[in-house]
Structure formats: C-alpha cells, structure tokens
C-alpha cells in the first residue's frame, strides 16, 4: 500500500501528489544485491527518503488550495518502511520504489489526476538521475541494474513521461526533480537508451499551467548532506511555505510562475555561503497556476550589511513599523551581516552607534518581500 492519503469528493477538482524517494539501490556500489558490471560510480544515498518524507509531511500538514484541495498522496520509498503521519501519528507501510511499484502507483495517480480538468498534479522524485542526452533526464528506480540485459527498463524516461502527461486532463501540473543530471562517460558510448515512459506520449500536446523544476542544471550535480534533507527539497519546502509566494488580493499565493523563480533565488543565495557547492536549479514554468494558498504571511529572511563593514561591530539595528520597534536584527559574526526573519512589510531600519564612532542620520526604508530581502546601509564614520 503506497496511498498514504486519499480523500476525493466526486466531481470536484483536487490536488494529487506522487512522491518517490530512492536511496537504496541494491545493484549499485555498496548495494545488497547482485552488482551491476559497471555501476558508473553510483552508490547508495541517504538523503532521498528523508527528503521525500519531508515533502510528504509538508503536503499533508500544509497544502491548501481551495480550488483544488488535497485529494491523494502516493508515496514510494527505498528502503521501504513505514510512514508516520505528522498530524495524528498514524502509520502506513510504504512500498519500495521499484519500477513495478512506480508504474502501479503512477497509474493510480494518473487516473486520479485525469478525472477533472481543474485538478493539480504534483510529481516529486528524489534519487539518482543521469542524462544520456543532455536535457533528457533518466530517473533511476530502486531496482535499476537488476537485469543487465535490459539495464534501462528500471529507469524512468522523464522527458517522454512528461510529454505523455499532455494526455492528462489536469490543468495545472508540477514536476519537482531532485536528482543529478550528469552524463557519465560510460553513457556516451551507448547508442540509444530505452528507458521506461510511465505514460506514452501522444501527438496531442495541449498544455495548461506547467512547472518543471529541476534541482540542478543539465550536466550538474544536485547536493544533499548525508542523513539530511537535500538542499533543493529544503528550498522547495521553504518556498511552498511562503517564500515562493506573492501577494494577490490580500492572499499570499504560491504559483507555477513564481515557485521556480524563488527556489532558484534561494539556492543561488546559499551558493554564496562558504564551502557550499554550486547548485543552480533549472525551471520551466508558465502561467499563474495556483499550487498553494498560504494560511498566513510568510516569514522572510532579511540580511542587512553596513558600509563600511567595520561599522557592524559598533552598531545596533532596529526595525520599526509606524513608529514602533518590531524587531532587532542580530549580527552574524561570520558574514558580518545583520540578520532577521520578519513578516513581509515596509520597515524603517534605524542604525544606532552607542559609541558614536559612526552615524546614520536617516532611517532606511526596507520593503521586505519573499523570498528574501538584502539591504546595504551606508553609514558615516565620525572623526
């Protein structure tokens, strides 16, 4: 059983989610099964099942779309195990992400998605990914390499699957692919790879609002620390939580157009942190399809730098709203930036220098918006 949630009202649009997290690969390096002759350097992973569970947790706890409320979640994890519902602690046995299980769960997901034209379809994959032709990802199921004679039958041909999804009625479709996109040299020698399309494409290609969001650019790696959620999924969840939203008619909406843009901005910002590998997502999003309506305004990170930077050691900062101090940013010693997390709004930032070594005669106005706000304040050194 992989359906961890199902609540569908007849004739109504819903959001249907399919989540795959593959960390266990028995036929790759350090795997438990018969090893593939050439595993292309691919080994066991720990982040994908954790990331997939975190994504499922977020969907169950938070996803709110009045036009398409949550209808179902299909979850496959490798290693297989139990999924504990975050709200009530109910336990669900979850099947492994073998190709057979993926196909079966996909069919259920597809049929539900196809039931109503205003449905929202969400597909999430975290695990090993490869590209034989750059830009055409292959997503590896748990049993990839089980049969050396038909090596690619247990890999998902994502591009064909995506093109096939044009057959599905669901007007809004999102694809989140948290996987590497490198081309090992071994792949270059293979003439043609016949991976599995989960739905065969047809020549009818009428699309609604679509977001394809890849954790990384073509030919690049996607990163995650051992036993932790991946960088991409972390940014994705933060953006779904509101950092990927924009305010429309007093509501904070996460849309197909904004989500990819803001996940990219967040990862690009974290790329600047020391000892962080470069990872730039790639996305292809059209339109304004609503994925999630935030129940409250998002909490937005704020970074404030003083110029000259030496002034930071002598300063004290406060954020004001209509004359009232609402927050006091704290100095991060490593970056020498003042950091805070506040609600989106227009603030006045007041900079004090108790020792009077510098001064800033005017408050600085800050319009804080998701996904983050960065401000530089010039101060004057007093002689």
């Amino acid at each position: 059983m992989t359906t961890i949630f199902e609540k569908i009202e007849k004739d109504k649009a819903h959001t249907h989610v399919f989540i795959i997290g593959v960390g266990k690969y028995p036929h790759l390096l350090n795997g438990e099964g018969t090893k593939l002759d050439n595993p292309m350097g691919l080994r066991q992973l720990t982040s994908p099942p954790i990331s997939a569970k975190a994504f499922a947790d977020w969907i169950l706890k938070n996803l709110y779309n009045p036009d398409a409320p949550l209808g179902s979640i299909e979850l496959l994890l490798s290693p297989a195990g139990e999924y504990v519902q975050p709200q009530d602690g109910e336990q669900f046995p979850v099947e492994g992400a073998t190709m057979e299980n993926i196909k079966t769960a996909f069919d259920r997901w597809y049929n539900r998605c196809n039931f109503h034209k205003n449905n929202v379809a969400i597909f999430y994959f975290c695990g090993h990914g490869l590209e034989k032709i750059v830009g055409y990802p292959l997503l590896l199921a748990e049993d990839f390499g089980k049969n050396q004679l038909r090596l690619w039958e247990n890999a998902i041909d994502f591009n064909s699957t995506y093109l096939g999804m044009a057959r599905c009625q669901a007007k809004t479709q999102c694809y989140f692919i948290d996987a590497c996109r490198q081309t090992p040299s071994e792949l270059q020698e293979i003439q043609e790879i016949r991976a599995t399309a989960l739905v065969h494409p047809s020549t009818s290609q009428k699309w609604g609002e679509v977001l394809k969001l890849f954790a990384t650019h073509t030919s690049q790696k996607a990163y995650g620390l051992n036993d932790q959620i991946t960088r991409f999924t972390d940014a994705l969840i933060n953006c779904l939580n509101g950092l990927g939203s924009e305010k429309q008619k007093k509501q904070w909406l996460v849309t197909t157009g904004k989500l990819g843009l803001n996940v990219t901005k967040i990862l690009e910002k974290s790329n600047k942190e020391p000892n962080t590998p470069q990872q730039k997502p790639e996305f292809n999003g059209t339109g304004i399809g609503i994925i999630h309506v935030c129940s409250k305004p998002p909490s937005v990170p704020v970074d404030i730098a003083l110029n000259p930077i030496e002034a930071s050691n002598f300063a004290k900062l406060s954020l004001f709203q209509t004359g009232t101090c609402v927050s006091e940013p704290q100095l991060d010693l490593s970056s020498q930036k003042w950091k805070d997390i506040v609600l989106p709004n227009v603030y006045s930032c007041r900079t004090y220098f108790p020792l009077s070594k510098y001064c800033n005669p005017e408050d600085t106005e800050m319009w804080v918006q998701p996904p983050y706000t960065e401000e530089e304040i010039e101060v004057i050194k007093l002689v």
């Binding site: 034989k132 032709i133 750059v134 830009g135 055409y136 591009n159 064909s160 093109l163 270059q188 043609e192 399309a197 065969h200 494409p201 047809s202 020549t203 009818s204 290609q205 009428k206 699309w207 609604g208 650019h217 073509t218 030919s219 924009e246 305010k247 429309q248 008619k249 007093k250 157009g257 990819g260 843009l261 990219t264 996305f283 292809n284 999003g285 059209t286 339109g287 989106p344 709004n345 227009v346 106005e365 319009w367 918006q369």
Partner: protein
C-alpha cells in the same frame, strides 16, 4: 488620481529596449505592471501615496526605488546601469555572462580561431570572413560585430589548439554582436564562453526574460511586442521567431493562429518557423493538423538547424512524439525515424544550457564533442581571435589581409573578393605581375585553385617561403611522402611543395594520375600548353 511620468535612462547601447517594471503599494500588492522603453517618458496613473518601483532588468538584476506621489503631476527619472565598457553594456543588460573576476584572460588562451558557415541549397559551406579582421588587443574578453546576409542560416565556428570546436547559430538578423570570454564555469581551464546576440533590442530583451524564467516579465514585454509584430507591416525574421516562441510558451492559440497566417509563408528558410508552426498544430488532436505538423517538422529538417535551442528541443521532442505514435500503432515511420536519428546525433553534442543553438563538431554535419586543434581544410575564411602559437599562421593571415586590401588591383573579377573566382581572374591578372603573384598564392593557400593551375601559380610566385607555406598548411600522409618526393624531383624543385600538397594532402582519388602527369611533363611544355 495622480499622474507619474517615469523615465528610465540608459546609454545609446540600451536605448529603447523594453524593461519590465512592477509598481507595488505599501500593502506589497502589485498595482501596475508595464513595459517601459528606455529613455522614453511613460505616463502612469496611480492613486496618491507611496510606491515601490521595481525595475526588473532582463539580466535578472532588480533596481528598486521608492516614490511618493503627492500632487497631480509627478516626474521621476531613474538611471538604469552604468557599464565601464560600452561595448559590453548590451551583453551585460540582457544577461550574457562573462567573467571579469577570473585570473585567466582570453589573451592567455592561444590559437583561438573562428570562421563562418552558411547553409545554401541544403549544403553547409565555409564563407569568407565578411569584414577585414584584425587581431584584437583586448585581453579580457573579445567583442565584435558581424554583418550577415539576409535570409540565410549562418553558423559561427570557434575552436582552438585546446578549445573544443563548436558551432553557434547566428541570429536571423543583419547585425549581431559576439562576445568571447574565458569560461565562467571553468575559470582555471582553457575553455571559452561565446555569447551571440543581435541588436534587435525588443526581441532580445523578450528572449532574455523568457530564458531567465521571469514569465511575468516576459508576458508584459511580450504582449506589447507581439501586438506590434502582428499589426505592423514591416517585420524582421528575428522578431517573428522570438515572438513565435513566446506565444507558444504562453499557449496563446488565438494570437499564434494570427502569427502563423501572417509569417509562415513569408519566412520559408528558417527551421524555427516550421517548428513553431508544427507545435501550434499539435495543440489540437485533429488528424489533418497532426499530419501537417509532421510535414512541418520534416520541412524544418530540410531547412537546416534551428537557430534557437528551444527550437532544437521542440524538433527533437516532436520527432520523438511521431516516432512513438507510429510504434504505438505497430507501424514504422521511416522518414521520422531517419530524421530522429540525425537529430539525436545533434542532441548529444548540443550545449542545452545556451539559448542560441550551440553544438560541437568539425563541420555542421560532422559532429564530435572533443575535437581540438587548427583546421586543415576550409581555411579560406579562418580568422584568429588570439594569436596562433604556430608561426606559419601569421603569414597566411598577412597574405589574406593584403589581398583583401588589394582587391581593386586586378580588375573586375577580383574586386568582388571572391576567391573561388580567382582562376578566372588570372588571365587579366597576368598583365600585372604583382597581382597575379598575389592571386596565385592566395588561391593556392585558399585551396580553391584547380590542380592544373597549381604549377603556373607556383611559377608565377617564386617566393619559396610563401608557396611552401601554402603547401605545408596540409600534412602529407606518411605513406605518400616518399612517392611525392620521388615524383617531385623529376620536375622543378620549386614545384615540389605545391604539387605534393595538391596531390597528396587532399587525398585525391586521382593522385597517382596526377603524379604521373606532372612527372612526365616538362615545365616548358606545360606552360606552352
């Protein structure tokens, strides 16, 4: 209500480019979205109050300014950007990456060359470089303009001693700007980044918004752009192409239909147009439309290579769709299979991260990911971006340059500077020894001289250094060398190099016959003949 007259100012380089501007009120809600042309005053009506003006440049840079509207009339002038190098400002504006920070300068990567290819009558051929070329003195990045003939697919090929040979499709415009810089991704490695853009500010700005994924910006700028495109009488192929991709991305069937009706028959040489047409047709499940969509894809194959990477992706995906559709019906579509096979080869050597079609190979139809070095064939149009390490090349460069300068000396035929016609020019050129020498030598070097004119060419120009150079620009196959020497000794020594080159280096099927002919004949009788 209050009127705001907003002007975004910039230098001439970016003047009149449309920029996406968002205006937010203090509730952080967007109250206006518009495309403003740089250096044009734009009137906006707003309620009195405080606003955040967010200017989203196509490069991704965002400029913010808070304005307070207090009276009936308000005016704001906001400067956009200032570049230290005006030549690079346009690239900077639309977000073409280049690397100022790396320790490697372009001048540190030796022997980078380039040449132009054009597609004519279903064949690719090397073109003469269209302008007089001088090695640039710029150390950090090389930027230059290119003038291109209308209505023809053109590729820029760039390679080097250690640089993989790549092709970059040139925009369907009469002018384009090229920027070659050390690779941003691999600054410690001898690799380069090539950015090509046209001077069509409106279309290129829209393209940049589309590529950056800022679909809101693309929609605002694109709506304005497409309205002009569909209703104005004049048009250019670049604008039509970018407009088509924009409409397809938005799924705007109504305006796509108008686009198809207006442009498809007017621009029949550009594969991108056929590809957009095909995908428009695929948006409805109608047998006749699907059949026509298939024809459009096959037509695009005949037209050459799409200029934009998006076109290549749609072509590949389209062929995949038709192939799978046939397989699902247990049928075989041979034409589609053959096309797919060809495009699959391109797909494996395409740099999908670039907006404009970029792929690797020795020739447009001879694909290879890892070819480096200096071309040995088709060197007619080759020019150097950085100085060659091999000392034979500067001389070739010099000779070509001299000939371009002396194009008027030999009369009408030479004046069009078409090297292929040089043999025809010889008759008139012989009257002027200097010109004939130059013409012969150049022809020899350019590999355009027919074999039977090679000997007189060599004789006419007795400066050994030059014709030796011409001969040795090709490598003799080792197994042919002794034979060449033997044959060459029987004729005048000074003919050896040119003869050997022509006979052997071209791997001509009639090499042996040519040796015999040349060995037997005396120079005197030959010239008499």
């Amino acid at each position: 209500m209050s009127k705001l007259f907003l002007t975004l100012t910039g230098t001439n380089t970016i003047s009149h480019a449309p920029v996406y501007v968002e205006i937010l009120d203090t509730d952080l809600e967007t109250v206006a979205e518009l495309a403003i042309l740089i250096n044009n005053k734009q009137k906006i009506q707003l309620e009195l109050g405080k606003y955040l003006i967010k200017i989203n440049l196509p490069s991704g840079k965002v400029i913010k300014k808070v304005l307070v509207l207090e009276g009936q009339l308000n005016e704001a002038v906001l400067p956009l950007m200032s570049s230290t190098n005006q030549r690079l400002e346009w690239h900077e504006f639309i977000g073409n990456t280049y690397n100022w920070n790396t320790e490697q300068e372009i001048s540190q990567i030796p022997s980078i060359w380039q040449r132009l290819w054009s597609y004519d009558k279903k064949n690719w051929k090397v073109e003469r470089w269209p302008t007089k070329w001088k090695l640039t003195q710029n150390k950090i990045a090389i930027s230059f303009s290119l003038e291109l003939p209308p209505n023809q697919l053109q590729l820029l090929q760039i390679g080097g001693a250690e640089i993989h040979w790549r092709f970059i499709a040139l925009p369907p415009e009469s002018n384009c700007e090229v920027l070659v810089s050390p690779s941003v991704n691999k600054p410690d490695f001898n690799d380069i980044n090539v950015a090509v853009t046209s001077n069509n500010r409106e279309a290129e700005t829209l393209l940049s918004y589309l590529i950056s994924g800022n679909i809101r910006a693309a929609k605002v700028v694109g709506d304005w752009f497409v309205e002009k495109l569909l209703f104005e009488k004049s048009f250019n192929a670049l604008g039509v192409t970018i407009g088509g991709y924009f409409l397809l991305k938005l799924g705007d069937d109504e305006r796509l239909a108008k686009w198809i009706n207006k442009f498809v028959n007017l621009i029949q040489w550009l594969p991108d147009i056929s590809i957009i047409h095909s995908w428009f047709l695929l948006r409805e499940d109608d047998v006749a439309r699907v059949k026509l969509a298939r024809s459009c894809l096959l037509e695009a194959m005949k037209q050459g290579i799409p200029v934009y990477t998006e076109g290549m992706r749609l072509l590949f995906d389209g062929l995949l769709l038709f192939n799978q559709d046939a397989l699902a019906r247990h049928e075989q579509d041979v034409e589609i299979e053959q096309a797919l096979e060809l495009i699959r080869n391109y797909a494996t050597v395409t740099d999908w991260s670039k907006p404009i079609m970029t792929f690797y190979g020795t020739a447009p139809e001879s694909l290879s990911l890892r070819n480096t070095g200096i071309p040995e064939k088709d060197t007619i149009g080759l020019v150097w971006l950085t100085p060659p390490t091999d000392d034979k090349w500067p001389l070739v460069q010099e000779i070509f340059s001299q000939t371009v300068e002396s194009r008027n000396l030999s009369g009408a035929i030479l004046s069009n500077a078409n090297l292929i016609k040089l043999p025809e020019a010889l008759a008139s050129a012989r009257k002027n020894q200097g010109v004939s020498n130059l013409a012969y030598t150049l022809s020899t070097l350019a590999e355009e001289l027919p074999p039977d004119l090679l000997l007189p060419a060599v004789s006419a120009f007795r400066k050994n250094r030059v014709y030796t150079l011409g001969a040795f620009t090709k490598k003799l196959p080792p197994d042919s060398l002794s034979e060449a020497l033997s044959a060459a000794r029987k004729i005048k020594t000074e003919h050896y190099h040119a003869f050997a080159r022509n006979a052997f280096t071209e791997k001509r099927s009639d090499s042996h016959a040519l040796i015999d002919k040349l060995s037997k004949m005396s120079n005197k009788s030959y010239f008499a003949a």
